[in-house]
Amino acid sequence: MTMKPSIAFPVAAAVLAVLAAAPLFIPDYWTGVLLGMTGYVTLATAWALFSGPTRYVSLATVAFFGVGAYVVAVLNEALPYPLVLLSAAGIGMILALAVGLSTLRLAGVYFVIFTFGLAELVRQTVSWWEVNITYTMGRYVFLPFEGRHIYWQLLALAAVTLLISWAIGRSRLGLALKAIGDDEVVAAHAGIDVTRVKLLLFVISATLITLVGAIQAPRWTYIEPSIVFNPTVSFMTLIMALLGGPMRLWGPALGAIPLFLLFEWLSVSFPDHFSIILGLLFILIVFVMPQGVLAKIDDIRKGGRA
């Protein structure tokens, strides 16, 4: 995307307006598809915000997503809705801070596995808390939202996420990140507070992910840990972002949209063979990127297009 901002912004605004108006003209099902797609676009973009430049592959997406949904489930009758969202964001932020402070010194596959373990730990802890402290398992969210209301909120969040991603890319922070991604040691010598930058990014990314969970929660009416802490969400997000390329502003979105539509098409057309086709397609995707996914990312980083 090399368009000048003076052109890009009006174009983006127009696209946004069309997308926002869409539910008024299309059947509910397609609103549902747009909703799911927007959710993943936001998740993948938010994920890439941190994981793209730092190359820390996180599987903790669902930990934050689930926490967001759970906060809504717990508070939806106690507080007005905007405050509920604010609380969700706040709790996600605090959790991200705690996690970030303790884990960002891990690297490589250890970070991957840590974040996966973290998601499971959060899920187990929430279950235990609900069962033994509050004696409620399964909460109801009776908010007067239909699909399109949720979709509009997600669309707004997606726009904000992309805007944040764009702003970071242009800021000093973005420069610092690029330096860290290239070589952490060099970046540190150049006077960049590497840990602080990473932590900041992690918190922003996690807070956005928490909000996606919070906004989507009213769609399921009934919330329990096994529903909202579904590890598939983490894997989907990761794959979409990796496919599209987590280094570009539009990369994650361009990975999320086709993959989401593909999954949807598969589950409509081959409901009995979804797993097997998905699996084979996946293997194929890895093979058609002959230099490997990571190298492809490097290609893109160096300005080439694979």
Partner: protein, 413 residues
């Protein structure tokens, strides 16, 4: 084979409509299907064919949907009020055990496929997830595999919803009656050891059980909850057997139920009352337990004298290739029979069918006079026990379609 061809044709049709819809995302009038005699009645459902919920769906829900559709179609189709018959065409999706998928699948069935009726998914959570949509699009919602004490509230909220599996309180109170009688007869002491799985089902039951047991004067001497992923129960059963209770209760799911049984045999843990959760009423259960299941109690149970039910079980075994479970299957199947008869009386109008389901009397495998009370099926067998190779419904003294409970449980063999 015929089914396959129909399926392929439908897939092709779906593909083309989707391609069209995708091309004109923002537009337009969907092709309207002109209803005419002989055109099929479309019935859609989204069930968990994969993921963690597949085990439950595959036992209680999906086989009964398939059995019922096959039976109806073999008989020439659904009968309409004018006596004409129309075959059922099925559109089935896999929700992959994801709440978002099941919601979108129901939207797809309602607004894209425009099916005539939608059958619900498996599980309390997923039934609740689709309930607002079913109500919004006006479909009768025959929640067959969902245990909830809140059914009376849900009926008020969604007046086209119907609940066929009762609530935790019902199951627990019927079981408590048996315990009280046994205690008065001196067969058991007043202590209960209770464990439950930490998910919606287990916790709902345990929340109903605590006050019910305590109100009946029992002392719950061991009361713990375990995560659904637990696979080893040696320690939990050891602690439970140290609790000095004559009654052991586990509100568990099939993997736990099977593991608990195996472990109880290994540890020779054989309390007079041994009550397990989902899975103890599965036909494979005796095999898993190595044959010795006599006296094991659980939810559900069938009336061995009910010939309709026996015929249903035989048919299920013949067509699906295995026997149905002894609890939910028959309720799900009965809900489908009611749907078929309601259509026969009032036609395909969804609101009229819902009204008929709510007020009518139906002939089902449960009996000639099956009817709903406040949109809920209440004539359910709450407690069952393995007696002489069958899992029968029991009550303290028998009668009314139940056998008398036989306690204490004999030794594991």
């Amino acid at each position: 084979m015929k089914f396959r061809i129909a399926e392929a044709a439908r897939a092709a049709r779906r593909l083309s409509t989707h391609a069209a819809a995708a091309a004109l995302l923002v537009a337009t009038g969907a092709t309207s299907v002109v209803a005419q005699d002989g055109t099929p009645v479309t019935i859609g459902y989204a069930v968990s064919k994969s993921g963690p919920n597949a085990g439950g769906s595959d036992m209680t829900v999906t086989p009964n949907y398939e059995l019922w559709v096959k039976e109806v179609n073999d008989a020439g189709g659904l009968t309409l009020p004018d006596g004409s018959r129309r075959p059922i065409e099925v559109i089935a999706y896999d929700d992959r055990s994801s709440a978002e998928e099941v919601v979108r699948a129901v939207e797809r069935l309602a607004t894209q496929d425009k099916v005539d009726f939608i059958l619900p998914p498996w599980g309390t959570g997923f039934n609740l997830a689709v309930a607002p949509l079913m109500a919004k699009f006006g479909y009768p919602h025959l929640a067959g595999a969902a245990v909830t004490d809140k059914a009376p509230d849900f009926v008020k909220r969604w007046d086209t919803s119907f609940w066929f599996m009762g609530g935790s309180k019902d199951y627990v109170e019927a079981f408590t009656d048996i315990l009280v009688q046994q205690r008065e007869a001196g067969a058991i002491n007043d202590k209960i050891a209770m464990i439950s799985v930490a998910d919606g089902f287990g916790i709902d039951l345990v929340k109903a059980a605590r006050p019910a047991f305590e109100a009946a004067g029992f002392d719950i001497s061991y009361d713990e909850t375990f995560p659904p992923e637990t696979s080893d129960f040696a320690t939990i059963l050891g602690e439970a057997s140290n609790a000095g209770a004559d009654t052991f209760v586990a509100f568990s799911y099939p993997p736990h139920t099977f593991a608990l049984t195996k472990q109880a045999k290994v540890a020779a843990f054989n309390p007079p009352v041994f009550y397990l959760g989902v899975g103890a009423g599965f036909p494979i259960y005796p095999g898993i337990a190595g044959g010795s299941v006599e006296g094991v109690m659980s939810l559900g149970g069938i009336d061995p004298q009910n010939e309709l039910n026996a015929a249903y079980r035989a048919k299920h075994e013949e067509i699906v290739g295995r026997a149905p479970d002894y609890w939910g299957s028959v309720l799900v199947y009965a809900s489908l029979q009611m749907l078929g008869q309601a259509i026969e009386r009032v036609g395909l109008d969804k609101a009229a069918v819902a009204e008929e389901l709510s007020g009518g009397t139906f002939s089902t495998v449960l009996g000639e006079q099956t009817r709903l009370e406040d949109n809920q099926l209440r004539a359910i067998n709450w407690v069952g026990q393995w007696q002489d190779g069958a899992f029968v419904a029991v009550s303290p003294d028998g009668g009314n379609g139940t056998a008398a409970v036989k306690l204490p449980k004999p030794d594991w063999q």
